[in-house]
């Protein structure tokens, strides 16, 4: 196997997702010599291959369009035989079932529990944001000040005001459609005269129906008594006009996992721009395996292993050196790389980890899903997957006691909840009742079949509650001491649980969902999970007594925490510029630096922080 060397670079960036791509673009446009190492497959000339993989998939999950293949010979891929594996939502099932969450042959993550970490990610050009929804909300000011305002957790080392202008830059960079007039709630402020790059995405028929219930909505007992309920259009990195030479959204209802016309931003857009600068290069299928530290505590290089086939042998090893190193994996792969880098015992607990904080505080937005039939058709399965939400419940004094949430209104019927329209169609044709809409289990045909499918599917809708999870130091990413990937690198091991604070947020979501459905005169079908579902828990807790119910949560796809930013090396891994406290020439970027998970989807804030970091690198390191 040959040993490669690349020296004399300004910057090495590990990972080509939104964080890595944005920083590469800024540095590249400033003429800096940048090399990117991407663990996964190269950027294709067009997305036809991804689309065909999606169209042919019997289980159309977020990972379906991308490589490595989710299935191999009809079974879930065994990631011990793959060089750059990643998790899939298909391996979150109970013990002994298909997709057993704790079977290392079916689950890339080595899940130690007690509950399952339910979010997934990609390792491919463009990263996980290839399969995102496009939601581009700003955080509210309180999200940065949980300790000061509510006596909970920690404050961020920066406040909303420090990010405000960077939010604007990020919205321009990824192309956000929204109206400032709709977005100034809960203290969010915009620079005078600011306008989003594109007009907002129109509301769907589902949104408009939910909006009608807001005036009469009352949610008792969860701290939301004084809320003036309203539906707000969701800022989205989805074109309402032609932008960045990409087309206008045609409402394919497929943002997750892939927009067939690339009307939704994905980081391959930025990556292509970075590469066009002429000073950025990328090596694909090159897995960073060690961060080297010299005797002075500076990063001295990164080792990588290059392969050609997903399940093939390593073809080369290499070593790259630069002035600055930027780890832009995600909040599981970045701590994995840091922890693997023990430097022959000189950094026994891994790089950037003098305080033992790397890998701790893993978070998500555990998502409570509720579904119902409207009394009249609202015609889901049309338009972007989500066009509006309820944001006004994201902040309040209740944050002293329970996790806050935002509510995402879905436009895809019961696709998320029940695998529809397939499940109900099969039920009605084969006389089953898996989806709960064929109670008498009749097998229909002809005109009656058409009538029933139309009636049921056109009235379906769902609400998703993204709950703020507490940062707990017992929720960790460590290295498996026995399970490896095909390159011989230890697989990430996850310990994960939900605190009572987080569970109370999910329980409040359940109360709120039922109140909204009641106010809409909609019939609720939210199903209680099975007792062996590893993404479920009983509530209220044992000691509270009284009747119990079992609640299920889903992953929001938000992998957060694990190398938090803070005000000092005592309380954090990086500073507010995402620079390692331990190693001056090392930056750790992405949602791993969030000290708290906040009440909105993370991508826009990742982008804003990375643009701010790129600016700092240019001024302080490469000036």
């Amino acid at each position: 196997m040959c040993a490669e060397r690349v020296n004399d670079l300004d910057a090495v960036i590990v990972g080509s997702g939104i964080a890595g791509a944005l920083i590469a673009k800024v540095l590249g446009n400033a003429g800096k010599k940048v090399l990117m190492l991407e663990a996964g497959a190269a950027m294709p000339a067009d997305i036809n291959g991804y689309m065909n993989r999606f169209l042919n998939a019997t289980a159309k999950v977020p990972e379906s369009p991308y490589t490595p293949e989710v299935f191999t010979n009809g079974k879930l891929t065994d990631y011990s035989k793959v060089n750059a594996g990643r998790p899939t939502v298909l391996s979150l099932n109970g013990k002994g079932q298909f997709g057993d969450w704790q079977d290392p042959r079916q689950s890339y993550l080595i899940q130690k529990g007690p509950l399952a970490f339910a979010s997934t990610y990609e390792r491919i050009n463009g990263g996980t944001v290839r399969h995102w929804l496009g939601t581009s909300l700003r955080f509210v000011p309180s999200d940065f000040e949980m300790s000061t305002r509510f006596g909970r957790f920690v404050d961020w080392p920066i406040k909303y005001q420090h990010l405000e202008s960077w939010y604007g830059e990020a919205e321009k960079e990824i192309g956000v459609s929204a109206d400032v007039a709709d977005q100034g709630y809960l203290g969010i402020e915009f620079a005078p005269g600011y306008a989003y790059p594109m007009p907002k995405i129109p509301l769907s028929m589902v949104d408009m129906a939910v909006e009608k219930a807001m005036a009469s909505l009352h949610v008792p007992g969860v701290g939301l008594d004084d809320v003036r309920w309203a539906v707000a259009s969701t800022p989205a990195a989805r074109n309402s006009q032609p932008y960045q030479a990409r087309r206008v959204c045609a409402g394919n209802t497929n943002c997750i996992p892939i927009s067939p016309i690339q009307a939704k931003y994905d980081p391959s857009v930025t990556l292509a721009e970075a590469l066009r600068s002429g000073s950025v290069r990328i090596m694909y299928q090159s897995v960073a395996s060690k961060v080297r530290v010299d005797a002075q505590g500076r990063i001295a290089g990164i080792d990588y292993i290059r392969y050609e086939r997903d399940d093939g042998p390593p073809m080369a090893t290499g070593h790259v050196t630069a002035k600055v190193y930027i780890l832009a994996g995600n909040a599981i792969e970045t701590p994995r790389l840091l922890l693997m880098s023990t430097n022959d015992g000189r950094t026994p607990h891994g790089v950037a980890n003098r305080r033992g904080l790397v890998g701790k505080h893993l978070m998500d937005h555990p998502l409570y899903l509720a579904w119902a039939l409207m009394p009249d058709p609202v015609w889901g399965y049309r338009g972007p997957l989500s066009t509006a939400g309820i944001e006004i419940c994201r902040d309040g004094e209740f944050r002293r006691d329970r996790g806050a949430f935002r509510i995402e209104i879905g436009n895809e019927g019961w696709n998320f909840s029940s695998g529809d329209p397939d499940t109900t169609t099969v039920d009605l044709i084969n006389g089953l009742n898996v989806g709960q809409l064929n109670g008498d289990r009749k097998a229909l045909f002809g005109a009656e079949l058409v009538k029933q499918i139309n009636d049921k599917l056109s009235r379906q809708f769902r609400l998703g509650f993204l709950v703020e999870q507490s940062p707990d130091d017992t929720n960790t990413v460590t290295l498996s001491d026995r399970v490896k990937d095909h390159l011989g690198l230890p697989r990430p091991q996850i310990s994960y649980n939900l605190s009572d604070y987080t569970k109370a947020g999910l329980a409040a979501a359940k109360t709120t969902a039922t109140a909204i459905f009641k106010s809409l005169n909609a019939q609720e079908f939210t199903k209680a999970p099975d007792a062996d579902d590893p993404t479920s828990f009983e509530w209220p807790p044992q000691q509270a007594g009284g009747p119990k119910s079992r609640l299920k949560y889903y992953g929001a796809g938000h992998v957060v925490g694990t190398y938090r930013m803070g005000t000092s090396e005592q309380n954090s891994v990086v500073n507010d510029q995402q620079r390692s406290w331990d190693h001056r020439n090392l930056y750790l970027v992405g949602s791993g630096t969030f000290p708290t998970v906040a009440t909105a989807n993370p991508t826009l804030t990742i982008a804003a922080l990375c643009l701010r970091t790129a600016d700092a690198i240019l001024k302080q390191d490469l000036g």
């Binding site: 769907s204 028929m205 045609a250 045909f445 002809g446 056109s458």
Partner: protein, 189 residues
């Protein structure tokens, strides 16, 4: 009493062509007739007009993919024969004979064909039968395969929902703010 709707008139026309087949060795002409019979019986089962399942100008030719998938079943010839024997009946009666009066093999093959048209995926008849048995596994019967990318994009269940397959919209920006066209414009019936 036979009610002449747009749908059974069209089905009837296809039948007239299909039943004129001569017995003997299979020829291209025979296959065309079998295909026409297949479309006609599919229309009776699915409730979608034959002219919508297989339009006169049909560059996609999805019917052929479903026909080929169904043909691999040992009960397929019997299904066609049952259809031919009942072809003059109204569509609901034809469907009733296939699904309720011709035994389990034909019933589940009929359902497999319906699911192919609705979802673009092949559900094996024996899988559908297994999920209807006293020892049925939990959950929904799994599809054996998506018949093809085109089959997914031609799925009727989406159109019956007055929508489009996820990932395959032929509509324009903002359409989701307005109600869809009436159901009849999607199904032709």
């Amino acid at each position: 009493m036979t009610i002449f709707t747009r749908r059974n008139v069209l089905a009837g026309a296809a039948v007239a062509a299909a039943t004129a087949a001569h017995p003997g060795t299979a020829t291209a002409a025979d296959e065309t007739k079998d295909l026409d019979a297949f479309v006609a019986l599919s229309s009776a089962l699915t409730g979608i007009a034959a002219a919508m399942l297989a339009p006169a100008v049909d560059p996609v030719q999805i019917k052929k993919q479903y026909f080929d998938a169904a043909k691999s079943s040992p009960s397929f010839d019997r299904l066609l024969q049952i259809f031919r024997d009942n072809a003059t009946k109204p569509p609901e009666a034809i469907a009733d004979v296939i699904l309720n009066q011709s035994g389990s093999d034909v019933r589940y093959l009929g359902r497999s064909i319906m699911l192919a048209w609705y979802l673009g995926a092949w559900y094996k008849p024996e899988t559908l039968a297994q999920y209807n048995s006293p020892k049925a596994p939990a959950g929904s019967p799994p599809a054996d395969r998506v018949i093809s990318p085109a089959a997914y994009t031609q799925g009727w269940t989406w159109r019956v929902a007055q929508a489009h397959p996820m990932g395959y919209s032929e509509l324009r920006f903002g359409y989701w703010s307005e109600p869809p066209l009436p159901l009849v414009d999607f199904t032709g019936a």
